[in-house]
């Protein structure tokens, strides 16, 4: 992983953690005073290394796990800020990464009933719910968006 890739990764995660959003390639190029093709290439390398998941056409960030750029069925709130997460594992991961109390809101895919998980002082509070993993672990990255 070269130093540009590491710096781009840091800027993306900083964006999510500080502002709840990933900066786009144009902004990153401006911040680093580099041509956009250099940032395009860094994004592709990070994508190939499974450190980012890119949107299929724009090649902007879709996921920087545990964060999603687009709205999903998993909303995480820590304090006054909220993020979208990619799945229930990632939703709990947002609270673990931020290191603050958090609330995960989603709904049962079968009946639609609202489901809520709360983390307080790094402890998951007792709650209703059971998690289903559809895809065996060895095959997760065959189609990470489906997984």
């Amino acid at each position: 992983m070269d130093s540009l890739d590491i710096e781009v990764r840091r800027i993306i995660y900083d964006g999510f953690l500080a502002q709840g959003a990933a900066p786009g390639k144009k902004l990153i190029a401006r911040l680093l005073n580099l041509p956009e093709p250099d940032i395009d290439a860094a994004f592709e390398r990070l994508g190939e290394a499974h450190q980012l998941v890119l949107q299929p056409e724009s090649r902007e960030v879709l996921m920087a796990n545990p964060f999603s750029v687009v709205p999903t069925a998993f909303k995480v709130t820590c304090g006054t800020r909220s993020w979208w997460a990619n799945c229930i594992w990632d939703a709990l991961g947002v609270s673990a990464m931020i290191g603050q109390d958090g609330v995960v809101e989603t709904s049962c895919p079968d009946c639609g009933e609202a489901l809520r998980l709360e983390i307080k002082a790094s402890r998951l509070q007792p709650a209703e719910g059971l998690v289903h993993f559809s895809v065996p672990a060895a095959r997760w990255w065959e189609d990470i968006i489906y997984t």
Binding site: M1, S3, I6, R9, R10, Y13, D14, L17, A49, H50, Q51, A64, N65, P66, C87, I88, W89, D90, L92, G93, V94, S95, A96, M97, G99, T106, C108, P109, D110, C111, E113, L115, L117, I119, S122, L124, A127, E128, G129, L130, V131, H132, F133, S134, V135, P136, A137, A138, T147
Partner: protein, 71 residues
């Protein structure tokens, strides 16, 4: 990786959408996965993805030892 109300709901969803039954985890197990996977700061220059062996060790520590969880 979806959260359901209960196993009954998972069974009904699997049947309705013709999805194979995969692996069922408690929310506590998934919290364990989340902490093990995401507590390390990904902004650190030295951060790297877990190796297969490291990931397998995490799964084993959480009781995830069936073939579904073999990498």
């Amino acid at each position: 990786m979806l959260l359901f109300r209960s196993e009954v709901h998972i069974e009904r969803w699997s049947e309705t959408w013709r999805q194979p039954r995969g692996s069922l985890l408690s929310i506590e197990q998934v919290w364990g996965l989340a902490q093990a996977w995401y507590a390390d700061d990904r902004r650190r220059p030295g951060w790297r993805r877990k190796t297969m062996a490291e990931a397998q060790e995490i799964f084993t520590s959480l009781g995830l030892t069936s073939p579904f969880w073999q990498l």
